[in-house]
Symmetry: C2
Subunit: 361 residues, 2 copies
C-alpha cells in the first residue's frame, strides 16, 4: 500500500541524481528532503526541503532523519558514522550491505563470484610484491584500481607492460588496490533493475554503453545483443538483487564476451546509463527507485521507443541551443552554473519510434 | 539563444499546473519562483522559491518581479492591478491581451468571430429583457454563462426550455452573462499549441476530450477525426496564436460539427487536455511553455505513442494503488492532502505503442 500523499523521502546527496529523484517523487505526490554538504546543489531547485551540513554533523543528521519517512542516497561515498546514526532512526534503502559491497571492489568481486557470477580475473594488491605476483598470474594488459570508491575513472591506472607496475602502484597513493585483467569484450551493456520490499523485481531493457575518457558518453537502447543475452543480463541483475535482499534501483554494468557475460561493477542507486528511461518508459528509473524505497508497487518499465542517451560533459553544454532544435530530442540539464571539464552538466535523450523488429519490453 | 542556466521564471499561481511547469523548468536548468496567496500550494514542493502573499500586496509583487527574469501564469484569474505592477518591472508572457480576452467571454467570442472563426451562436445578457430577446434569437436548449472567468463548469446554467430562464438568470448573481446556443457536435477536441517570441509555432496532435459533470474526464490521442480535420484544428490554433502575437502554450477547445470546427474556448496557459504530452512526446506542453516564455527554441512535440489521459478527481485518487500496478500507466499526483469532491488530485497517462495506422504526429 503506497504511503499517503505528502510522505517525505530523505535523499543523501544533492547532485543531479538527487535532483531527478526529487522530480520523480513529486510525480507520486511525495516530498523530498535533501541532505548535502555543499551549498546550492542541483537537487535544491526541486526539493521540498534542503539541509546544508557536513556528514559529520550528528545534530543535522538526526534532525534530517526525524523529518523523513525513509532515507535513500544518490551516491555510495557516505561515511559509515552518518549511516549508523541515520539507521538508528529511519530505514535506509537500499540496505547497508549493498552499500558496503559497492564501496569496496574486493567485497564486490568476492560477493559476485560467490553468487556464481563471472568477473574479470582479479587479485588484491597492497604492495609491490603483491602486484608482481598478481601480474605474474593475470598478465598484461591489466588495470590497477583502488579498492574503495573510484568513480568515472578516478583512482585507476593501466598496466600495459610489467615495467608500468611501479607508476601504477604509486598512483594508488598507498591505498589498498585490486589488479584486474583486461577483458576481451565486444560491448559494454548495463541493466537497470529494481526490487521492491516484497521481493518483486522489474528490469529495464539492457542499454549499450560507450565511454570516453572513462566517463559514460552514450547509452543506446536496444543494445545490439541477442534475445538470449538480453535475458541473461536481466537474470544476472535479478540474482544480485535477490542475494542482497535489495530494495531500490541498481545499475549493473556487464561486459559481453565470447564466453558470456562478465559483471564489471554494480551501483546501488539510479545510474547514468538508465537516464534513457525518462523518455521511453511510462515509469523511469528515478520513479522506480522512489516507488521501491517508498513501498509502492514497482511500475511498468516497458520500453515504448528506441532511444540514445548522450551525456553533456563540460563544454558539451554549449551545444544545447543546437540540440534544443533537434527533432525527437529531450533535454535534461542539471542547473550547474559552471561547466568544468569532465563535469556532468546534463544529458539528452534522442527518441525514435520503436523499430518494427524491436519487441516491446 | 536560451538564457543562461540559473535564470528564473516567475509563475503566478501555485496549483498543479505551476507544479508541472516548475518541474519542466528544472529540466532546462532554469529555476522557478512561485507566487501564490495560499500556503503550501502544490507547486511549492518543486519550486526553487515560493512567495506566499495576496495579489493585493504591492511590496511582495514587486519583490517577486525583481527576483525573476520573466513572469508567466498558470491560471487566468489574476487581478489587473497585480498584472499592471508586475508588467512595469518584467515581461509577462503570454501577453496581457491574450489574458484579457480569455478572461471575458464577450471579448473572446468577438475576437474569434473577428478572425473568421466560428463559435456557438451567442448574445450578451445583462437582464431579463436581454435574456428573453436572446432566447428568441437562439432558441433552446441554450446555456447561460457569466461573462467573466468560469472554470470547470462553475457560473453556468442550462436553459432547456424558456421557463428555465428566470432560474438561470438568478444563478448569474447579477453578473453580466452571455447566452450560448447548444452545438450539435459529434466530438470535443482540443489543440495544445505554442508560439515562440520569434513567431515560430508548434502544435501537438489534437486530443479528444470527454467531460463528466463539467470537468475533463479523459483526453485520448489520437482523436477519432480525419487527417483533414486534424490539420484544420491546428490551423485554427495557429491563427489565434498569430492574431494575438502570443508567446507560450495555449489550449484551444473545439467542437467537431457536421459544418466544421467551432471554437468552444481558449485558455492562455498549459491545459489539462495537454497532460498526455508528458508521456508521449520528447517535449511536453509544460516544457514547451517554459521554452517559449524563456526564449528558447520550441521543442519537438511529435507524438511517439498513443495515450489516454484520465483525470483523478476527488476520491478517484483512492484508485492509485491499483493504477500503480497497471502496465503502461504513468501516474502524476499533485501532492494535495485533502481529496475534496470535484478537486483535481492527479492524472494518469495510459501509454501504448503507436498504432500502425497512426502516423507520427
Amino acid at each position: 500500500m503506497p504511503p499517503a500523499t505528502g510522505a517525505t523521502i530523505g535523499i543523501l546527496g544533492g547532485g543531479q541524481l538527487g535532483r531527478m529523484l526529487a522530480v520523480a517523487a513529486s510525480r507520486l505526490g511525495l516530498r523530498t528532503h535533501v541532505y548535502e554538504p555543499a551549498a546550492n546543489p542541483p537537487a535544491a531547485d526541486v526539493a521540498h526541503r534542503v539541509t546544508t551540513a557536513p556528514y559529520e554533523d550528528a545534530q543535522a543528521l538526526a534532525a534530517f532523519a526525524a523529518s523523513v519517512d525513509v532515507v535513500t542516497y544518490e551516491f555510495e561515498n557516505i561515511p559509515t558514522s552518518a549511516l549508523d546514526l541515520i539507521e538508528s532512526l529511519r530505514p535506509i534503502r537500499p540496505n547497508r550491505r549493498a552499500l558496503a559491497i559497492s564501496q569496496d571492489r574486493l567485497l564486490e568481486k568476492t560477493f559476485l563470484n560467490g553468487e556464481g557470477l563471472a568477473t574479470a580475473p582479479w587479485c588484491a594488491v597492497e604492495d609491490a610484491a603483491d602486484l608482481e605476483a598478481a601480474l605474474a598470474r593475470i598478465g598484461t594488459p591489466a588495470i590497477l584500481k583502488t579498492t574503495r570508491l573510484g568513480y568515472d575513472g578516478k583512482g585507476q591506472a593501466r598496466i600495459m607492460a610489467p615495467e608500468d607496475a611501479a607508476d601504477a602502484l604509486a598512483a594508488m597513493a598507498g591505498q589498498p588496490a585490486v589488479l584486474e585483467g583486461f577483458i576481451d569484450f565486444s560491448r559494454e551493456i548495463s541493466v537497470i533493475a529494481a526490487r521492491g520490499p516484497g521481493g518483486e523485481i522489474a528490469a529495464y531493457d539492457p542499454g549499450e554503453n560507450i565511454h570516453k575518457a572513462g566517463i559514460l558518453h552514450t547509452t543506446t537502447v536496444p543494445a545490439h545483443i541477442s534475445p538470449n543475452l538480453r535475458s541473461d543480463a536481466v537474470l544476472v541483475a535479478a540474482r544480485i538483487l535477490n542475494a542482497l535482499g535489495y530494495v531500490g534501483v541498481m545499475g549493473v554494468e556487464l561486459f559481453v564476451t565470447p564466453g558470456g557475460l562478465i559483471v564489471n561493477e554494480i551501483a546501488p542507486r539510479v545510474h547514468n546509463s538508465g537516464h534513457w528511461t525518462q523518455n521511453a518508459c511510462a515509469v523511469d528509473q528515478f520513479e522506480q527507485h522512489i516507488r521501491a524505497v517508498a513501498g509502492w508497487p514497482l511500475g511498468d518499465g516497458s520500453r515504448f521507443a528506441d532511444v540514445q542517451m548522450l551525456n553533456l560533459i563540460g563544454d558539451d553544454v554549449l551545444r544545447v541551443p543546437e540540440l534544443a532544435r533537434e527533432a525527437g530530442t529531450a533535454i535534461h540539464l542539471y542547473g550547474k552554473a559552471e561547466a568544468r571539464a569532465g563535469r556532468k552538466m546534463g544529458h539528452v535523450n534522442r527518441v525514435k519510434p520503436l523499430r518494427a523488429n524491436s519487441a516491446r519490453g
